[in-house]
Assembly symmetry: C2
Homo-oligomer: 673 residues x 2
């Protein structure tokens, strides 16, 4: 430990300011947690790099308020074309499928380069933290110690990290080094009209030298290693990535294409008869990305470790693409970025040490970029983790919920690797000439895999297992109970994110997508679905629930700090199935529309499943499989995943669920675990 | 003229940086015209003031790329409630109507305070001009001279204006002076999270003193007086506002209400039996605006000029509202802004001097704010004018098109005054007790007027008359021709803005609202509707048109400067009615998808009227009343208004239309007029 160095105390230290680290910082800024985020690079990325955004990722962005920025700037991918040799060996479009399965989300998959996505995060972090949190660039950790004796003490800072501030030269990103023979491609994107707000970043980079070579000590309660495939944090923890490297070498070209290929603005999977495969990803600003398999016969060098890539140039990649796409012509005048890679498919052995130091993103899973999954899964790692740490740091929940990070995300990482493995093999193989050609890949099977993969690739299929925050009954012991509770809202799946349709605000008739009400701010939601409140029985059951919710020992009061707003820990929302115009908010118990002596009644808690004037009819009860004659109550986690489904008036089960991990406030703050 | 003062030459000088002036500057920045914009106030407004945004205004904002900012931040008004005394004199909701007529626009009326709207303009101006144009605050013009000998010379700068830079104290806005007895209401809004980007403005205001009391001379080709109801420019020109003042005094309160009135988040018109009327306008940030008629019996002072308003306080206004809204309770803890006004309804005698100096906004029409029209009509004044001046300044069109500013906007201003007059009278009157009560206002008539007024208030109903840029045949002499051409696209009305539905990009299947393709950039559009191109006849007619469009003397080439991009003066868009998947862009003549040697073919010109995967089916041909067996060609002005409708293959009429006012390029630039 450096002598005389300054010591700083933070709740959370984040290492790495790529998408996974930035997502974490966004959560913590939003929840008001004291955070620092450091990155060894001197500037953020300005072009190239991963760039697909899943529907689920856009839903998450929207929950932080910036999905519209990605939606406006990105290229939207609507259709996938599959091109294969016909029986004469001539390239033909064999089929078209929608890129995003219709109906699964209000967003569709889009493409935008990583630099812009990082910009949205940086702006959000700045706004949420009121300027208090910003990425410290040109900073690397040099030592990590964990005091194992205090890891279970909620008040302790068991983590000690030394940070060194680099000089500007040390911190300069070596982006073009991704190509070993190093043709430097002019990066014009950061000067385009899409990125006017990066100027400040560039200036900041030049200021690094002021702190160069100083060292400081940070004591942290929690830490996230989001520092990429070569993660320093992972190595310090002694964790391994398990899995294997593939033989395939891929080239990537980002160009403005000049071509008579008719589907160049579609996402295409092109299999040639004998020259390999190309994946076409149309991008923003007229760019198109080509992923080209450089056939193994061209491969040189050591096959056991990294292959020699010095023979790979943009021309080599282009010529390969031209062979695959013949007889169509392909050339370009503008090259934006290019690279080549040979990637392993690996998953981390462990995702956390003592639930104090966590790993996310490429630090715990690496795979091929073609499926456009890496950045999404990485961001979703820390989207899963951020609110959990925030809730624990704020003393609202006990540490037991932190175990769910590994139990939930490790399975996703494994599924990603399986998907990538299968998909890469199908994509890289030679198309079968006919049904007897067993070594070739069946193009029907490829299409089938592509369609199935689409559901996985949307991010919507994520299904978290049973835990103290996902109240799935044990299917072995409680099969009938599981079926009964799930049947109350048959299309709202326990462990999955809640679907979304439009509902109308009872007070002003404005249509909102249900998910738009579920902003990421760390709050749990109890959604009361009272059904048709014109039915006397339903109204009675709703009132009976509300009597208990408004009682002095209700979980709403018990788990909310006395000085905090009524909806800061658990927010109650209501969506009823009667006609909006037949009711007013004063028809509902006050606990569903709380009173504030400055702001009056809360007009943003009660909604109707009814026809809107301009934006259709969500038909929520029908879509969610909830009977208006029965209703139900759903608990959502702060990340929109479904924790619990229960009977409308079963207050006790709600109370029992929250009592499993929330800490009573205004009393001793001992964790219950 | 000051001795030794500096002289600057600009294409356009704008006086006044309210919404009308800013809209003008936005156009000119977008079109690359050399512009200065000055305002006597030291800062922009931060709260209070006009705040309704019509659907048409949002369409216009979207054409400049910032409608989404207003849409996200604003309060959306969906429903209007009408409240009247029932037969026992008790206040009841008598009916509900949609606030925006369903189907007339993809936007609905919203409310957001003027400070934010000005912010969107300032950001757009900065972006479009790459920082070259910004509002110069604390600057007032002190003299105006027009050299009448050179007003018809396109190269001349006939306008000379002296500008004086004020000291910070002189330039400070006196916003609270709207209440004579001057209770200063704390304005917290500019510190809210909605306005983080105003800090720079505040700092800039403090820097005014550096230039204080310097004078400079500006020579301009054109000038806009957008300097409000007390317009200095108008007075210099010697123009009058014609019309009269009303007796009604209105109070305005912006509060966070605490009330048991159930419709406080709806737009409401409340008529009490004997205590007057309230209009309720729900706003952003929990605010509600109340417009309250302060009954004439309470009026004191000189009735012929301005009434004495010194007795009006927030308490007086609130008590009035409480009487009107009884038996409902109303109070507040937060007051954001308040004012009182007695307004005249007046229209300017002339809208321009020599088509060199123009007036827009409150400088040429004043009226009551209740209908939420003032700011919208003001912005639409300069939206009408901006592209015309830009086109003339750039030497693309002759000066004749400038005459259409007054011919088009004066009628709108008069219609606004008529609407306001009628609406105010109905709103201010006492409700009729029964059918025999002839002095009272019939509530059925009020509802009818409200519903009719809604179409006017949307801004969609604007219908410009026949001119050299609106090719309406003379109905007296050419009735049959008029009917025949209009019938080719029966729902696309000559002189009105083109409606919008979704169409699919032929190249990538992405759905776009047609209007989203019609960005405000100064470009004329020829939209080719070839109909169903699977029909041999339709394809032939399309090809025949395209042969002429691509000819060496085509109007596309003749009116475009040799060095300019192919679509910079006139852009050709195509929307066909065949199935998208049955065609590729290479099925269409190249003039419909122009080739560029760097960017390849243009993928953003050809669209299909077909079913989308995720966003429905626009059914454009059906909605627009165009037969797929016949097709047509439509010419749109740069402001989306319909200039011309003609037969699909009638190239000559298209050429004739443009030849009426565009100037051939690459030749002598003499105006043709």
């Amino acid at each position: 430990m450096a002598v005389g160095a300054q010591t700083d105390h933070v709740d959370v230290l984040i290492v790495g300011a790529g998408p996974a680290g930035l997502m974490m910082a966004t959560w913590l800024a939003k929840c008001g947690v004291k955070t620092r985020i450091v990155d060894k690079r001197g500037t953020k990325v300005f072009n190239g790099q991963a760039d697909g955004l899943q529907c689920r990722t856009l839903e998450i962005f929207d929950s932080f308020g910036f999905a519209h920025r990605a939606w406006i700037e990105s290229n939207h991918m609507l259709e996938i074309s599959l091109w294969n040799p016909d029986e004469k060996g001539v390239l033909r479009r064999s089929s078209r499928i929608p890129d995003t399965i219709p109906g699964i989300s209000r967003f569709q998959q889009v493409v935008l380069h990583q630099g812009r996505i990082e910009r949205f995060f940086l702006d959000a972090i700045n706004e949420f933290s009121e300027g208090k949190v910003s990425v410290e660039r040109g900073v690397i950790p040099t030592s990590l110690e964990i005091d194992e004796k205090t890891v279970e003490d909620p008040e302790a800072y068991p983590i000690t990290v030394n940070l060194r501030h680099l000089s500007e030269e040390e911190a300069r990103p070596k982006q073009t080094a991704t190509s070993v023979n190093g043709t430097v491609i002019q990066d014009g994107l950061f000067r385009s009209n899409l990125s006017p707000d990066d100027t400040a970043e560039m200036i900041k980079a030049a200021e690094l030298n002021q702190k160069a070579d100083t060292v400081e000590i940070v004591k942290a309660k929690y830490m996230l290693g989001a520092d990429g495939a070569h993660s320093w944090v992972r190595k310090e923890l002694g964790f391994k990535l398990e899995g294997e490297s593939t033989d395939y070498i891929w080239g990537v070209l980002d160009i403005v294409p000049i071509t008579d290929f008719p589907d160049i603005r579609m996402r295409c999977a092109i299999h040639s008869a004998n020259s390999g495969s190309v994946m076409v990803i149309p991008r923003e600003n007229k760019l198109v990305r080509l992923y080209i398999q450089l056939t193994t016969t061209e491969k040189i060098g050591d096959q056991d470790s990294r292959a020699d890539r010095s023979w790979i140039t943009p021309d080599v990649i282009l010529e390969s693409a031209q062979r695959i796409m013949a007889p169509y012509k392909l050339s370009y005048r503008k090259l934006d970025w290019w690279t080549a890679y040979q990637i392993g498919q690996r998953v981390g052995s462990s995702f956390s040490a003592h639930e104090r130091v966590f790993l996310a993103g490429d630090a715990v899973h690496t795979h091929s970029p073609k499926a456009g999954q890496g950045m999404n899964v990485s961001m979703q790692d820390s989207f899963n983790l951020g609110w959990k740490i925030a809730t624990v740091v704020k003393g609202l929940a006990n540490r037991s919920i932190l175990k769910t990070y590994e139990s939930e995300r490790k399975g996703i990482a494994k599924a990603l690797i399986d998907f990538d493995h299968k998909f890469s093999r199908l994509f890289s193989g030679r198309p079968a000439k006919d049904i007897m050609d067993e070594e070739g890949i069946s193009m029907d099977k490829f299409k089938e895999a592509f369609e199935k993969g689409n559901m996985f690739a949307s991010g919507i299929a994520v299904d978290y297992g049973r835990s103290n925050i996902v109240s799935k009954p044990d299917p072995d012991n409680e099969a009938s109970k599981a079926a009964k509770l799930q049947a109350l809202a048959s299309e709202v799946k326990l462990g999955m994110r809640i679907p979304s349709v439009k509902v109308l605000n009872q007070s002003d008739a404005r249509p909102w997508h249900l998910q738009e009400l579920l902003r990421s701010n760390g709050t749990w939601r109890v959604i009361v679905f009272p059904g048709n409140i014109d039915l006397e029985g339903q109204k009675k059951r709703m009132n009976s629930l509300c009597d208990k919710l408004s009682g002095p020992s209700s979980f709403l009061k018990r788990f909310t700090p006395p000085s905090a707003r009524y909806d800061s820990v658990i927010e109650v929302l209501t969506v009823h199935a009667a006609k909006r115009q037949d009711h007013e908010i004063f028809d509902f118990p006050e606990v569903l529309r709380p009173y504030d002596e400055v702001d009056g009644w809360d007009y943003n808690k009660i909604f109707a499943d009814d026809q809107s004037y301009h934006e259709g009819y969500g038909r929520l009860y029908e879509t969610f499989g909830i009977s208006p004659d029965q209703g139900c109550v759903v608990i959502l986690r702060p990340d929109q995943y479904v924790s619990y489904i229960g009977e409308l008036d079963d207050y006790e089960s709600l109370d029992g669920f929250f009592s499993g991990f929330l800490i009573p406030q205004g009393e001793t703050k001992e964790p219950k675990a």
